[in-house]
Symmetry: none
């Protein structure tokens, strides 16, 4: 791993373990085994380090999301693969999610950024647009809405897995059901609803 990545990974670990607060540059330096001054060769400022880390993680997330995807497959299959890719990513390494949640609710994340081209939102929009166009998903709901909703539910199910995992003696079958429930919610609905 090159120095720049080492610095970003150290920052990420620090944020996972000690929050956005607990990652002073001095500690980033120590944890990535470089001198404090060296960080400033790779990043103009701490803000820039955080911003680059954000983009680095977005790329990682998109990569994970589309692993094994194939637009020739039935959309339910594609949806399930997406779902499990994301869950795996978030469960295996909590740091990504934790970073993102803090990032989105911090002043680093401005409204402009949201509006601007965003790899991750673009990918999701396209993905769900495919499902709508192929007639396998509900029509009449914008893909942006579907994507935010689905992603929110994935994150929630990650929380369930992580926090309650052992404590609640929850059988895996139940947890697996969540994806089905969500699929039932977004799939093409037969006709009238109660």
């Amino acid at each position: 791993m090159n120095k720049k990545e080492k610095i970003m990974e150290a920052t990420l670990d620090l944020i996972r373990d000690h929050g956005f607060h607990g990652c002073p540059m001095s500690m980033v330096a120590k944890n990535s085994s470089v001198a404090a001054g060296t960080i400033y060769h790779y990043f103009e400022s701490k803000d820039e380090l955080i911003m680059e880390l954000y983009h680095y993680l977005v790329a990682k997330v998109v990569d994970a999301a589309q692993s094994g995807d194939d637009d020739q497959l039935p959309f339910k299959e594609r949806f399930m693969r997406f779902w499990h890719n994301m869950k795996k990513l978030y469960v295996q390494d909590r740091s990504i999610h934790r970073f993102m949640e803090q990032f989105y609710n911090s002043p680093y994340f401005t409204e402009e950024m949201e509006m601007t081209d965003n790899q991750w939102h673009n990918w999701m929009r396209n993905f769900f647009t495919d499902g709508i166009n192929s007639g396998e998903l509900r029509s009449g709901v914008k893909p942006e809405i579907l994507s935010i909703m689905v992603h929110g539910t994935i994150l929630s199910s990650v929380k369930v897995t992580i926090y309650h995992g052992k404590k609640m003696d929850m059988d895996q079958i139940n947890l697996g059901h969540i994806a089905e429930i969500v699929w039932d919610g977004i799939k093409k609905q037969p006709e009238a609803k109660s």
Copy 2:
């Protein structure tokens, strides 16, 4: 409003506008019109202020959630009231949502807290247990799972409303549909599905 609440509200506003960073005690003092030292009469430390603010907001959230609830009503009606109460709460005053998102992903929120008696989780568990017991919700899914899932989706739909609201020129009808979609996902299912 008493001084303690004034301090908490000032902190909350600061966190909304400038994130978990960006609320130095000096600014909390200024925004709540008390001297810096006064804060320490009411809170032992900044950490304690944050923790008390959390509990204060949880109480507010539970209050909002159960507004107009009545266990004699059909569960779909109760669900829709709950849904709209929550959305109203989170959309009208973004500060609660922003605080919570940051809080849950910060070191303030420990695993123990999750496990410990938690007003909000208790309320939600009881609520969804009612729906399961009355046969109006899917059986075979634990109420804890339903509550985390539903709440996660509410938060997501709040994000849609807030961030994309104007930009996307999204008609209100579509947004209203989300609750229906979720209801379709959690309601008693007719029979077997693939």
Copy 3:
């Protein structure tokens, strides 16, 4: 005990246990069971409280020193009584000595105070002047010098008693010798010295 004394005693205890630093007025208030404001009815300021405490303790020390003294007795007897009175006082309650040592080496204690009438130094000067005049003590040494020397040695022997007391398995006979050694040093010397 009246309120004023209660405040002074609380201050003294605090200084013994936590040093000159660790006695904020708030804690003095708590430990003496009065409100913070009340202290300012009895003392103009913290400085004044410390100064009054000093004078209060000086009086206590003089009282202890002259307990059982009688200028008709042989001076060696008077000296031994004095010695044991002081040791008892300092060993039984370390706070007096600890306060004094810190006081003397703090800015509270000015050179003027040293020069000014000082009950305790006066008492000691008079005491040793008696010994010189009666021919039982060395001549040619000013009583001021004798008194500071003797008192310093008492304090040292208190330190021995307190710190090393148990640890060193020191027989009481040896400790008792110190007064004898000092007496040998200050008593009228026979004639030529080596």
Copy 4:
């Protein structure tokens, strides 16, 4: 002088002039011509600065004590050299004495420290053990006791010199006598006394 020593010396000066109070880090910084933050490169905290200063001074004191010492000399000569070394050290630079007096009577100095290996006490114990073994000092008194006693008396005579020095118009001869008096107290005694 390196920066670490400059900081310690500035602290010492401040304590001499304004007591253990009266040396805020900001002033230590100013007096040692470094930035406030720099102090924390060399010392973890103010407490650690004080503790290191203590050890630094103990080393200085031991150095001074053994200056010109030679175990081939008669013990009286060694004793007199020791005495005058110490007096010189304490009188020439009052800061060491003032620091020590405050340090020993503050919570910085714990019982454990007293018990623990202590350069200074070790040196004194060895010194007086030599005198006892060579038969030039009283037997039957532990060297620890002799050392505490003698040192206490030196400190007292320093106080005499400093506080009363000019005021009392005390001839140097008298002051010089103190060492003789103490020597008379601790030297091998001719025979039994009442």
